[in-house]
């Protein structure tokens, strides 16, 4: 917590509004297909960790990929206002 406060102070912590869509096992575990959030998470990585704790997601971050606005992106990417975020569980097409 101390660290977060420090970081916030250094980095001008901002709150952004994002939409998170859930698919497959994450949708089941979340009990919803999407939600709108106001978050101060500094990256997609932080956002997933926070949601995983809140909702008890069983998948570790290294099992997932992440997409923003319909493109795969890096977990370290910062959140932008209005972003649509999708965490992508291990796929099983075909």
């Amino acid at each position: 917590m101390e660290i977060a406060v420090n970081k916030g102070a250094e980095k001008d912590m901002v709150t952004v509004n994002v939409t998170v869509r859930y698919f497959a096992i994450l949708r089941d575990q979340r009990g919803a297909a999407s939600e709108q959030l106001s978050t101060e998470a500094a990256s997609l990585s932080e956002l997933y960790d926070s949601l995983a704790t809140t909702h008890g997601f069983s998948l570790k971050q290294d099992q997932l990929r992440v997409a923003v606005n319909d493109s795969f992106v890096d977990w370290r990417e910062q959140l932008s206002e209005g972003a649509q975020v999708v965490f992508i569980p291990p796929v099983a097409g075909g």
Binding site: A24, G56, A67, V86, P90, G93, G94
Partner: protein, 153 residues
């Protein structure tokens, strides 16, 4: 051309769309719902897809196949929704002047589709349990959606 289909895949119109006088080879792949997976009897399954990203990524895969192997054309359709044993889950058709490229491109496309597309499969087994394939883990079976746990494929 790639698309998701909520209904039975009709392959004749897809193959028609590939016709080309330069074509000497057409290779078609059909992925079918098997009656078993990793030793368990499968009675039904459901595919769910993140469609907008899925279409973009699939079109990339088709373009890569075209560039890498010099084929004339390729088409792929993936089912979403509920399927039963024997139903076609995915169809890939490739045409090229010679067979070697068609086989290579066909294999490339289906391998990449299975690895890269945001599609998930929930299997229902004899007895009624179900499981999101590849999302269950021995270490945290308690957190899984069903009692069924098995390794990655």
């Amino acid at each position: 051309m790639f698309k998701f289909a909520a209904e039975k895949i009709e392959i004749e119109p897809l193959k028609k769309s590939l016709e080309d006088d330069r074509a000497g080879a057409v290779v078609c792949f059909e992925g079918i719902v098997r009656n078993h997976n990793e030793g368990k009897a499968v009675v039904a399954l459901e595919y769910e897809a993140y469609e907008t990203l899925g279409v973009t990524e699939a079109e990339k895969i088709l373009a890569e196949a075209s560039t890498n192997f010099g084929i004339l054309n390729a088409v792929c359709v993936h089912r979403v929704g509920e399927l039963k044993v024997g139903d076609m889950a995915v169809f890939v058709a490739v045409c090229s002047a010679h067979r070697h490229e068609a086989y290579q491109a066909s294999r490339y496309i289906i391998d990449e589709i299975k690895t890269r597309l945001p599609i998930w499969k929930k299997e229902t087994y004899a007895g009624g349990s179900s499981s999101w394939v590849n999302c269950q883990h021995l270490n945290n079976a308690a957190a899984c959606h069903s009692e069924a746990s098995h390794g990655h494929k």
